[in-house]
């Protein structure tokens, strides 16, 4: 494509077309509490002419690879099955985040009256739609080519009714949209993209490649090349906000909350993904976290803003400590709940035990017995569900909707409270309690346990569509075996007559402290 001769002039020229309306006053959809300078640095500096050429080329590379090489060589069939299973929840979560970011960018364009920042947000809006489509394409691609299509073929409906993945919305969907647009920008760009996309897209890429999965790296690396620009958007937004000293207290609060919200779902979820699903292991999630979040994001990004008065997020030390155990507890709860999942949750073998104990000294003491019995109970012939290995399904936090036994049952600082109307709430931690205290009316959503409390487990499985097309075999399985005699069916579940039970049901509300 013929280059524009004077790029600086071109970038300036395209931004000259905004004007202050005279005939009709324009109010943004959502006002911001921040003061935003009218001009700042352009973080994107990309003309649409160049952008469409660049993205077309990237699309050709990625889709070409998937459609020609990967499919023809039937590579997805040879990928490690255990790894392929976790792509079902992982991709259904990332798709949710990408799409929310489309609308978040539209909200920023609407509110932020600054031509430089707007250019960046518009291009990112297109990028996010691109990523949404890339990831749904990959989901369908894997439904067609992965060894087990179940769960890929239902990914975007199954995610919504899954007790754990449903919580993703609290970290990467609702919070990307339902705040002050600049608060959402902190959540999406400053913490989500600058902090977590490396931990998702780069780490997952290298693990996927090690586990003989060529499709995921083709898509994820392609996506990550856009994310770098989004980080620049986030930094430009931060710089613009920090240019106005009055913004600092609000910005600090938003950064604190954003990091907690992302952490409480993402770190626990990614801990499960990276520590429990690769067959060929590279690094533990804690090691990835230390590199991408602690050293790169906290050390290389947030701390560099100290001269402007911005401090490391309030709950960082706690988060760093919790990383050691949260993923393991989450994995245990997830495994115990395997019949309600849209993926197969494999057993842990001797190599896994050794690896996890080495990376997380003490792991075997806390989690080893569960996984030993989990394997025993993975055979339907034994007539027992792993759910019986935990005292009960733990209550879910009203704010983050994660199990309230994180990071580890004996370390949890969860609390039960009631509001002035007598409604009972479990809160997983002090940070979630502080969010709830600030605005309890914002957290009205029923937890998964409240929604299905009292329902028979078999009825639930049938009702939400967790059976395979033979009408009997469960989508979720507690192993990767394919021999029919090892596959759990709805009849096995029916025989056990298990009731989904919200532990809050039996708690006497009058004994709980009133919080709001």
């Amino acid at each position: 494509m013929a280059p524009v001769r004077d790029l600086d002039a071109a970038h300036s020229k395209i931004k000259e077309f905004a004007w202050e309306p005279d005939y009709f006053a324009r109010k943004p959809m959502r006002e911001t509490k921040y003061k935003i300078p009218r001009r700042s640095k352009d973080p994107f500096r990309t003309l649409l002419r160049d952008y469409v050429a660049m993205e077309e080329e990237k699309d050709n590379r990625q889709y070409g690879a998937l459609e020609d090489v990967v499919a023809r060589t039937r590579s997805p069939e040879r990928a490690q099955h255990r790894w392929m299973e976790v792509l079902k929840p992982l991709l259904s979560m990332t798709t949710c985040a990408e799409y929310a970011a489309v609308k978040c960018m539209a909200s920023l364009v609407d509110t932020v009256d600054n031509p430089e920042l707007r250019q960046g947000y518009v291009a990112q809006m297109l990028d996010e739609m691109r990523h949404t489509n890339q990831e749904t394409y990959l989901i369908r691609y894997l439904a067609r080519h992965a060894p087990d299509p179940a769960g890929f073929n239902s990914a975007l409906s199954a995610r919504s009714v899954n007790p754990l993945i449903r919580a993703a919305r609290g970290a990467v969907f609702d919070v990307f949209l339902n705040e002050d647009p600049l608060t959402c920008s902190i959540q999406v760009q400053v913490v989500g993209e600058a902090g977590y996309t490396n931990a998702v897209f780069v780490a997952a890429t290298e693990i996927a490649a090690a586990n003989d999965d060529p499709a995921t790296p083709s898509v994820f690396l392609n996506i990550q090349s856009d994310e770098v620009r989004h980080m620049a958007n986030g930094y430009a937004t931060l710089a613009a906000l920090l240019a106005e000293p009055d913004n600092l207290p609000t910005l600090q609060r938003d950064l604190d909350v954003a990091f907690w919200r992302l952490h409480v779902f993402m770190d626990n979820f990614l801990g499960v993904v990276y520590d429990y699903f690769p067959k060929v292991r590279l690094r533990s999630y804690r090691e990835y976290w230390e590199q991408w979040i602690w050293e790169d994001w906290i050390g290389g990004y947030v701390e560099r803003l100290a001269p402007f008065g911005l401090e490391v997020p309030r709950w960082t030390e706690r988060i760093r400590t919790d990383i050691a155990w949260g993923g393991h507890t989450c994995a245990m709860v997830a495994a115990a709940l395997w019949p309600v999942h849209y993926w197969r949750h494999d057993v842990m073998g001797p190599d896994d035990f050794e690896y996890l104990e080495e990376k997380y000294p003490g792991w075997e003491r806390y989690y080893g017995p569960f996984w030993e019995q989990y394997e025993e109970m993975s055979d339907p012939a034994n007539g027992a569900l792993a759910l019986s290995l935990i005292e009960s399904i733990p209550a879910l936090c009203r704010v983050c909707h994660m199990p309230v036994i994180l990071p580890r049952p004996d370390l949890s600082d969860s609390r039960l409270v009631r509001d002035s109307a007598g409604r009972k709430h479990a809160l997983c931690s002090e940070p979630c309690e502080s969010l709830f205290r600030e605005a309890p009316w914002r957290y009205q959503c029923a937890t998964w346990l409240e929604l299905y409390d009292g329902m028979d487990l078999a009825e639930y499985i049938e009702r939400v569509g967790l059976l395979r097309s033979d009408g009997r075999t469960l989508v979720g399985q507690p192993h990767l075996q394919t021999d029919e005699k090892h596959l759990w069916t709805i009849d096995d579940i029916k025989r056990m007559s298990i009731e989904i039970r919200d532990p809050l049901r039996d708690v006497d509300a009058s004994t709980l402290p009133v919080i709001a």
Partner: protein, 353 residues
């Protein structure tokens, strides 16, 4: 959902096709697979409500964000079936064509041969001024991106908003070439025309009003059924494209024709939306308040039609400025009014003065 393309994986009893999308046709399309149900929705799969309400207690998506009512906005399908890959491919082709034309123009002395009056008075002033209209439409449509009540609508509107930004940038970059090649063109003629020239003030009034509008369907419909077929058709097609050709300018028509292609695609997309809200039932058989929706649509036509027509009339004097005139302004106006009237009649809607 199983069918000829949805074989069941050996040993896993599972169809190799997405099961959570009800295709509009017999088979699931690549377009539907790329976008359907990416937007969580409490009326579809995401039971129990939103995890976080807004500080004012509002939901993420409010049915009240538009006066039109439909039982299932997720049924919408873009008739062009565009998703990001196909959209990007189309736009890259368009932009390559414009860029190569500009490059050739620059290399072969094209700008020096341009009629001076056309270049300095029409292009630098009115064509650049028209770029403001495109930018304003982008900003208005962008609001609808956030508010739209389903993913398929959101994606269609996103592409349409970006279309307008692409048009604005193409106009801006052509303007920059003119300034650099010809020299002596005062800065800001386009802005001055848009902000002060009487020929653009009624258009600016319409665009500013749309930029302030809060009903996302109103923004989408007014842009697609009134502003595009009346104002953009008059200025973009009948004036800039047709007049440029006879005034020795080959670049402006190339820019204009790509915009026309996008507008035609958008018109089809808006037709799809209007058909959806004026059908008696949705695809699942649920009742659609078609009559009430048609009344609302007519309200919008009545509210916005006269000011858009005023903007059309105000632009007509520009038709008298160039020496070479392939069409009289009033004839062009009659043509766009007739086209718009016919389009609205498809839905029993009427353009009234």
């Amino acid at each position: 959902m199983t069918g000829p393309d949805t074989d069941v994986a050996d040993g896993f009893y599972s169809p190799r096709e997405l099961t959570y999308i009800q295709p509009a046709g017999r088979r699931l399309s690549g377009y539907e697979a790329a976008i359907c149900h990416v937007q969580p929705d409490v009326d579809h799969y995401d039971f129990g409500g939103w995890l976080l309400l807004a500080p004012d207690g509002k939901s993420l998506f409010e049915q009240s964000s538009t006066r039109l009512v439909h039982p299932d906005w997720f049924e919408y399908r873009d008739p062009s079936s565009l998703w990001q890959r196909t959209y990007m491919r189309q736009q890259a082709v368009e932009e390559r064509a414009v860029a190569s034309l500009l490059e050739s123009a620059r290399s072969y002395g094209y700008f020096a041969d341009l009629d001076g009056f056309w270049a300095r008075e029409i292009l630098a002033r009115y064509h650049q001024g028209y770029g403001f209209l495109e930018w304003g439409l982008f900003l208005a449509l962008n609001r609808a991106v956030r508010l739209a009540l389903s993913d398929t609508l959101t994606m269609m509107i996103t592409f349409t908003a970006v279309d307008r930004l692409r048009h604005q940038q193409a106009i801006a970059l052509f303007g920059l070439e003119l300034e650099q090649e010809l020299g002596g063109i005062p800065e800001g003629l386009g802005r001055e025309a848009w902000l002060c020239d009487p020929v653009y003030q009624p258009a600016r009034r319409v665009v500013e009003r749309l930029m302030a509008a809060e009903d996302w369907c109103e923004i989408v419909v007014v842009c697609g059924l009134l502003i595009d077929p009346l104002l953009s058709m008059l200025a973009g097609r009948h004036f800039f494209r047709r007049f440029a050709s006879v005034n020795g300018d080959a670049v402006t028509p190339a820019i204009a024709i790509t915009a026309e292609r996008d507008r035609l695609r958008y018109l089809r997309a808006v037709r799809g939306l209007v058909e959806m809200v004026t059908s008696d039932t949705d695809r699942a058989g649920a009742a659609v308040p078609a009559a009430a929706n048609r009344e609302i649509l007519q309200d919008w036509i009545d509210l916005w039609g006269p000011p858009v027509l005023a903007a059309v009339d105000a632009f007509l004097p520009v038709f008298d400025l160039p020496t070479m005139r392939p069409v009289v302004g009033e004839e062009a106006r009659d043509a766009v009014v007739a086209g718009c009237t016919t389009e609205l009649e498809r839905f029993d809607l009427e353009l009234r003065r």
